[in-house]
């Protein structure tokens, strides 16, 4: 994940967090700008739903603003922020399970003109065919992720996409590191089986890309 200026800024945002914790509104605003994309993408991969991801992200940052004063160690900001996000994700999941409703967006995400995929089509100068294939493959992988259990999915996303250390994931989920690694192993193993079942191989991915 590291590499972009944004990532570098995130890695060295201790001073910013300290200022934000002391009530600096400007610093709090910058923190939101820095971390919004990460929290959104975590939630998006967790739900594969733009609206839910937006809702979770906004709730996470509102909660961050309200509770930042209670954060004792600045170095634990990342795991602390993901703890909030995970809790909101679980809350939304419970609500969704209670409602048992399926939106049209859930059925065919990316097809609606109002969908996020349409709005967020980055790199307009790129080859449209390649973009389409990339988008299809991305959706396919999201669907594979959605077949994992919630516990395995959150660990896989945190590790593979958010680049958190096992210690940070354990802190965020408030479980032991061994449990995190065990969930990771079974999550990857489960994904392997799902990919095999869907005939997604190394060659397929190479062709698609």
């Amino acid at each position: 994940m590291a590499g972009t200026l944004l990532d570098i800024a995130m890695m060295h945002s201790d001073a910013l967090i300290t200022r934000a914790r002391e009530g600096d509104k400007n610093a709090q605003g910058k923190l939101v700008q820095l971390w919004y994309k990460r929290i959104y993408n975590f939630s998006y991969k967790f739900f594969f739903d733009h609206d839910l991801a937006m809702e979770v992200s906004q709730k996470t940052f509102i909660s961050m603003h309200r509770n930042l004063e209670g954060l004792h160690e600045v170095t634990r900001f990342r795991s602390w922020l993901y703890t909030i996000a995970v809790n909101y994700c679980r809350e939304e999941l419970r609500k969704r399970k209670a409602n048992r409703s399926v939106s049209l967006h859930d059925l065919r995400p990316g097809e609606s003109e109002e969908s996020f995929a349409w709005e967020a089509s980055s790199g307009r100068g790129e080859n449209p065919e390649r973009q389409l294939r990339q988008s299809e493959l991305s959706d396919l992988l999201h669907q594979c992720l959605m077949e994992l259990s919630d516990e395995q999915r959150e660990v896989v996303i945190m590790k593979e996409y958010e680049g958190l250390k096992f210690r940070e994931i354990a802190e965020a989920l408030q479980i032991s590191e061994n449990t995190v690694k065990s969930r990771m192993y079974y999550g990857l193993d489960g994904l392997k089986k799902i990919l095999e079942r869907k005939n997604i191989t190394k060659e397929t991915i190479g062709y698609e890309l």
């Binding site: 509104k25 709090q28 605003g29 939101v32 700008q33 919004y36 994309k37 959104y40 993408n41 998006y44 991969k45 733009h50 991801a53 937006m54 992200s57 906004q58 940052f61 509102i62 603003h65 996020f116 995929a117 967020a120 980055s122 990339q134 493959l137 991305s138 992988l141 999201h142 896989v156 590790k159 593979e160 996409y161 096992f166 590191e177 061994n178 690694k181 065990s182 990771m184 192993y185 079974y186 990857l188 193993d189 994904l191 392997k192 990919l195 997604i200 190394k202 991915i205 698609e208 890309l209």
Partner: protein, 286 residues
Amino acid sequence: MNYKPDESTLISYLYGELDAKETAKLQEYFLQHPEELGKLQQLTEVRNALKATEDQEVIAPPIFMDGPSQASRFWQSGYVKTILSIAASFLLLLVAARLMGPEISYSKGELRISFKEATPIEQPAVQYDPKPALTSHEVQDMINTSLIKNNELIATEWEINNKKMQTSLQNNLASNSAKIDELMKVASQASQDQVRTFVAGLQQDNLQLMKDYMALSTKDQQVYVENLLVDFSKYLQEQRKQDLMLFQTRMSSIEKNTDQFKLETEQILASIIANPGNTFKKVNNY
């Protein structure tokens, strides 16, 4: 070598987080169990596949997190707003009043608020004459005279009404008694005829009833006697049958007894004939 790495160790190795000693141990294990290494490589391929998913671009929406400070919260509270609005209204009223030139005065228990100059209210002057027009004696005489006149008038009216009422009562009484006499006459005549008719009807009904009863009772008696005779004859027949059956049964039992007696006698005789000595002894033994 019984070493078998758990999932936690395998994952740590996969992500390069295993220390040198453990790594060496695991690599040795993989040399002996290449299939386990193959499994781990497959997991690496899964990881590579996951990388094909790109991040979604998103613009952070403006989140207004400038929470209200304590001071602004105080000024925005409902109570303060209400008090301030009342104070503002009062102030406005005062300013308006000041501009219009108010006159506020209090005299003889009367509060007067007026704008511009106050104009005195003109009240009608009450003339007080200390000399009395009538004495108490004269007033008493006037009352007495009035009462006497009133009493006389009432007595006259009462007498007239009494006479009228008596006359009316006498007239009514006379007319009513005449009417009652007439009615009584009509009623007595009508009742005599009705009684005669009623008694005659009653006699006829009774006669018919008696006739019907007699006829009905004769028929019933006949039927009853007939039934009685039939029942008696049936009883006699039944009794006869039973007697015959009893007689037959007794006869047959006598016959059976006789046969049995014969048989026993024959048996005794046969045994005597067969064993004359023994039988005699036995007979003596008894």
